[in-house]
């Protein structure tokens, strides 16, 4: 009996099946319902001893598997050599392409900015978007009733029963710096990315929400020169090695001296060949701010800077209207 199986196995293994027709013949010859050789073999089962039947059945099944394996292989081979032996597969039909998603350009820009600063030893800190007046203004040296508060059109929140300081939607991520400084001592080297709010009319260049990345470094002996250096490094990383920058005096309540940082944006259409664009505000942390959070302003000095992610993204991608970031048109999103 074993001989039959061995012989069949040999035949099956050696059969040449390299055309569509040969494959079909092979299939019919072994598995065919009427005259298949394995069918015939299993019919013989009745004739053999009951005790031998399990082994017999197992052998038949093994042969069946072998036939099926050969058929699969042969069919695959035929498919992959389709061009040679008649076109059973069209390789030029479009592939089955899964849809990929996309990250919002503001996420990508913020990550790029964060990446540059984390490479320089800054860690990322976050904080709440609803803040109290102290963290958003008072601790940051905004005097009560001062024109400086005009620079921030603030959303105040309708008070709900509790007697607390006026709650506001943070107008900048500086309160995160305050929270970090309150909870740790120098050296402090953090960046604070996040969403901020201004009660402003929506136009092509302003929106009621936007995103900032702010940076803070407080340590012994930190100077304006250090600030200028890190910002220049940032500009090179963001806008290219030969970027032209300008560091000029300005005013913010929480820094003294304060500065603004501009980059030169070449534009052939302008008579000057380009123009300066402000990309961030910065300065040395005002001693009043350090004292407000319990840091010795005689021993420590620090710098802080803050930039708008939208603004950088607009420069980076050549976007003219800020509102498009919040429209979420798929035709916009899929470009990034």
């Amino acid at each position: 009996m074993l001989d039959i199986f061995d012989q069949l196995r040999k035949e099956i293994e050696e059969a040449v099946i390299d055309t569509k027709e040969a494959v079909e013949d092979f299939r019919v010859s072994y598995l065919g319902r009427k005259n298949g050789r394995l069918k015939a073999l299993s019919e013989k089962m009745r004739d053999i001893d009951v005790a031998d039947r399990p082994v017999f059945g197992k052998n038949i099944n093994a042969l069946k598997d072998l036939v099926n394996n050969r058929l699969d292989q042969a069919q695959q081979l035929l498919r992959s050599s389709g061009s040679k032996k008649g076109k059973t597969i069209d390789l030029t039909l479009p592939g089955r392409k899964p849809d990929l998603g996309s990250l919002h350009p503001l996420t990508q820009t913020a990550e790029e900015i964060q990446g540059i600063f984390t490479a320089y030893g800054f860690t990322i800190a976050e904080g709440p978007e609803i803040e109290d007046d102290w963290h958003n203004f008072t601790s940051l040296n905004f005097p009560e009733d001062h024109p400086a508060r005009d620079m921030q059109d603030t959303f105040f929140l309708r008070e709900k029963s509790v007697d607390i300081d006026a709650a506001v939607l943070r107008t900048h991520t500086s309160p995160v710096q305050i929270r970090v400084m309150k909870s740790s001592q120098p050296p402090i080297r953090v960046i604070a990315p996040g969403r901020v709010y201004r009660n402003e009319t929506i136009t092509f260049k302003s929106y009621c929400v936007f995103h900032q990345v702010e940076g803070l470094y407080v340590d012994e002996g930190v100077s304006l020169a250090d600030l200028k250096q890190i910002l220049h490094m940032f500009a090179r990383a963001m806008f290219g090695e030969d970027v032209k920058t300008r560091f000029r005096p300005s005013f913010f309540p929480f820094t003294e001296p304060s500065a603004e940082f501009d980059v030169w944006m070449p534009n052939k259409d302008l008579p000057a060949g380009g123009r300066w664009l402000e990309i961030l505000g910065c300065g040395m942390v005002d001693p009043n701010v350090l004292e407000a959070v319990g840091i010795d302003s005689e021993r420590y000095t620090g710098y802080a800077f803050g930039m708008g992610v939208e603004r950088i993204a607009m420069l980076r991608y050549g976007i003219k209207d800020l509102r498009i970031f919040y429209e979420n048109d798929v035709r916009f999103l899929e470009q990034f």
């Binding site: 089955r96 998603g101 609803i130 309708r158 008070e159 020169a225 999103l333």
Partner: protein, 823 residues
């Protein structure tokens, strides 16, 4: 604020071109936002003599003139001005001259025109007799400009103007003034910085500053009832003036900086304000009842008509200037109509005062009325500049209005401000700025902007000038040194010193990025939606099924638009808007995700600001076709289970099987049905089909499925990437069995699977459902479910053990659910 380049030259001999000057201003902290050239170059414009004027034969309004410009021959010129007459000296733009002429449609927009030899209605014309506006000298277009008799025929018009100190071209420099620089809101103020940087003296106009008292004292009495709000009130009187049009030079200066000239008296007050920064007011002296000025707070609710003829209701505690009978001015903001200078005015009372910044600020804000005066008072004017400014104005009034200055000044000075004296350490300057700087340079720079500096060797005492109210501390003085010595001169160190802090990554940020990356690969696009929305919308979506907790909607105060009246309690309304927006633009297959803060009022022990809850939420939305149309298969629409699968995969990746999903078949206002996600009884999110009513409200075409996860609540249960440990897996083969059963149609399969897991014991590793069938092949009211079971262990399994496990599963399903095996 606008500065005139020509005007600035009065105070500083800087020798800089306009562009260089703007760069210098910007680098000194007075940021120049733009420079505009006004006026014409006058090239080609000469003085002509009108020899004859005759009527144009073909046009009533035109005249044919013959004009001598000392050329080869007199020029024929057709002129449309009614005032042209023989004998006049006039400016003539000769052929070839380029002029910036007011546009036909919009006179404010200038268009360049080249003067050509032409025929106007048949008459030859070789030039143009010009009006002031055509030469860019003013907005006047009443007629051609008639020059004085001294003008030399043929003389270049530019030299005619120069001889009369009239400028014909100017650069208007638009400077943005930061709140710390009230001293710079004037031409002298800006010049002070320029003079310090180019190291040249600041040139003050010569003014005869009167002493307190004199005849003025008998003409006007000043009573200050609110000394904390009005620190100083100086009054001078000029008598016998004539109110008339200002001379050209004055009008030109005011026009250049964007002010409209009115009459000589008002123009002078404006001129002096833009010169030195002190706002002035000119009263008609004869309208001041009782020769008396009283400065006091008025009660709210009163009505007062300002000189712009508007009746205004005064807010509480308005600081008013009153005469013996009535209010005559809103202190520091605007004068009253009842006492303003008119054509009939003969005697003028000049007010030059110091008003408290916050008082003026409050009133201006309450009235929504910001004026040039209030702008300056709010920021703080020179507390010692009142008498100088009054005297300067009085001198100009006497000069341009033909009056006489009453001697002396009524100078009420009840609470003088003493500017501080600040000690500054040289070393501290160098520490902050980060560069070496010479002591002499420090002294020179500070002195040149009005500080009285004493070098004490290693430190300085600096007496702050009265016009720098912002300077109080050492650091403020250091800033002055830093900006005047030039930020561009600060060297950048070659090395970066980084403190030796332990590098730490915030695991939450890593996880958030991981989720975004996974979703990105699953085809989700990230959106950024507004955190603010209409209050009604916020309230509709403020339901526990989405928010997981109770609490009111958080409202904003005085939002600019009702679209910003409340904070989102859920990301869903924002995303539904986005889906609607995109569906309307032909995008049907949408997979969107967003991470963002959501808000509710209420107490939360973790809240940063008591009374307000906020947490990060993650939303996923799917709708439309499941995939792109492809030749290999037909396209299916997204189903609830497609999104459920995404969430399952995501949660599997993040936290294994910590999350339980509880089915809820009841409708809510925003969901048709949903799975409530929980970890140990704490809600962490929802997977839902959006309710029909919201589908309608947002006009959505395809059913939308949404999952919103409370990222904050989920976070403690997530596997931090740094906590992952390898666990040994079984290397022995697994055994697969299929099992088809028949159960009641209403029976939830999830319950069966839980039962199977329990009954299958340790060997059962995995169950999947590969078929659900209802129809002819099964009994009515029943359905058939086919499960694939996988068994495994740390060894080779015996058939018998697997059989036993399958048997116990079948038995349990039959007992608990009446399930029968299908044959």
């Amino acid at each position: 604020m606008n500065l005139s380049y020509n005007w600035l030259k009065d105070y500083v001999d800087h020798q800089l071109q306009p562009e260089e000057l703007s760069d210098l201003l910007t680098m000194s902290g007075l940021e120049v936002e733009g420079v505009e050239v006004i006026g014409n170059s006058m090239e080609g414009v000469v003085v002509g003599h009108v020899l004859s004027v005759s009527r144009h034969p073909n046009a009533d309004r035109l005249s044919c003139c013959v004009v001598d410009v000392a050329g080869e021959e007199p020029l024929p010129i057709v002129c449309g001005a009614p005032n042209v007459a023989a004998g006049q000296r006039v400016p003539v733009a000769t052929v070839g001259t380029r002029l910036m002429l007011p546009g036909r449609e919009n006179p404010d927009e200038k268009v360049e025109v080249k003067i050509k030899k032409s025929k106007i209605r048949g008459e030859e014309s070789r030039g143009m007799i010009c009006a002031e506006d055509e030469l860019g000298l003013s907005d006047n277009h009443d007629g051609i400009m008639v020059l004085d008799g001294e003008a030399k025929i043929g003389q270049a018009f530019s030299s005619y103007l120069e001889e009369r100190s009239l400028s014909f071209q100017d650069h208007v420099i638009d400077v943005s003034i930061t709140p710390n620089r009230p001293d710079a809101i004037s031409h002298i103020g800006a010049s002070r910085d320029v003079a310090a940087i180019v190291n040249t003296p600041l040139l003050y106009p010569e003014v005869d500053v009167p002493n307190s008292g004199g005849d003025a004292q008998s003409l006007i009495d000043v009573e200050i009832e609110a000394p904390e709000a009005c620190r100083r009130y100086a009054a001078m009187v000029v008598q016998g003036i004539t109110v008339k049009e200002s001379p050209a030079w004055l009008k030109q200066r005011l026009t250049a900086i964007g002010l409209r000239p009115r009459n000589n008296m008002v123009d002078i007050t404006n001129y002096v304000m833009y010169e030195c920064g002190q706002p002035l007011h000119a009263f008609d002296y004869d309208q001041i009842a009782g020769k008396k000025i009283i400065v006091r707070f008025n009660k709210g609710g009163e009505k007062f008509t300002t000189l712009d003829s508007k009746e205004r209701e005064l807010p509480d505690n308005t600081l008013m200037i009153c005469d013996g009978d009535r209010p005559v001015a809103l202190a520091g903001i605007m004068g009253g109509e009842n006492s303003e200078v008119t054509d009939q005015t003969v005697n003028v009372l000049i007010e030059s005062a110091y008003f408290d910044p916050s008082t003026i600020r409050k009133t201006a804000k309450a009235l929504s009325l910001q004026t040039d005066a209030s702008y300056r008072f709010e920021r703080g004017v020179d507390s010692n500049g009142q008498v100088w400014a009054a005297a300067r104005a009085a001198a100009l009034m006497a000069e341009l209005g033909g009056g006489t200055i009453v001697s002396g000044v009524q100078d009420e000075h009840p609470s003088p401000i003493t500017p501080p004296v600040v000690a500054v350490r040289h070393k501290r300057i160098e520490t902050i700025v980060g560069r070496k700087i010479d002591a002499e340079e420090v002294v020179r720079l500070l002195s040149s902007i009005g500080f009285k500096v004493e070098d004490k060797g290693g430190s300085y005492t600096c007496a702050v000038p009265s016009f720098r109210p912002d300077v109080e501390r050492e650091i403020d003085v250091i800033e002055e040194v830093a900006r005047l010595s030039g930020y561009h001169n600060i060297p950048e160190p070659a090395h970066t010193v980084v403190p030796s802090l332990t590098p730490r990554v915030n695991p939450e940020l890593v996880l958030r990025r991981q989720v975004k990356t996974l979703l990105l690969g699953l085809g989700f696009r990230e959106t950024y939606t507004n955190s603010m929305l209409r209050k009604e919308v916020a309230e509709t979506f403020n339901v526990p099924v989405l928010t997981g907790g109770e609490g009111d909607v958080v409202e904003t105060l005085k939002p600019i638009s009702q679209e910003m009246a409340a904070l989102r309690p859920s990301l869903l309304p924002g995303l539904l808007s986005v889906i609607g927006y995109n569906q309307n633009r032909g995008q049907r297959s949408l997979r969107l995700m967003e991470f963002g803060k959501v808000f509710q009022a209420g107490m939360d022990s973790n809240a940063f600001v008591p009374g307000y809850k906020e947490h990060t939420s993650l939303i996923l939305c799917m709708c439309g076709p499941l995939e792109q149309v492809h030749w290999s298969s037909s396209v299916k629409s997204v189903t609830f289970h497609d999104l459920k699968g995404v969430v399952e995969a995501l949660l599997q990746n993040l936290c294994g099987d910590a999350v339980e999903m509880k089915p809820v078949y009841d409708e809510t206002p925003v969901t048709a049905y949903h799975l409530a996600l929980e970890v140990k009884g704490t809600p962490v999110g929802v997977i839902a089909a959006v309710s029909e009513s919201q589908q309608k409200a947002y006009s959505l075409r395809d059913p939308v499925y949404v999952a919103e996860l409370n990222w904050g609540a989920l976070l403690p249960h997530l596997k931090s990437p740094i906590s992952i440990m390898f666990s040994e897996f079984s290397r022995f083969p697994v055994v697969e069995r299929d099992l088809a059963i028949q159960i009641d149609q209403s029976q939830a399969v999830g319950d069966l699977m839980q039962d199977m897991e329990r009954a299958g014991g340790k060997l059962l590793k995995h169950i999947h459902v590969f078929d659900v069938y209802e129809g002819e092949q099964v009994e009515t009211g029943k359905k058939s479910i086919a499960f694939g079971l996988r068994f495994g262990a740390g060894r080779t399994l015996k058939d018998k053990e697997v059989d036993r496990s399958v048997e116990s599963i079948v038995k349990s399903l039959n007992k608990n659910f009446g399930a029968e095996l299908r044959k």
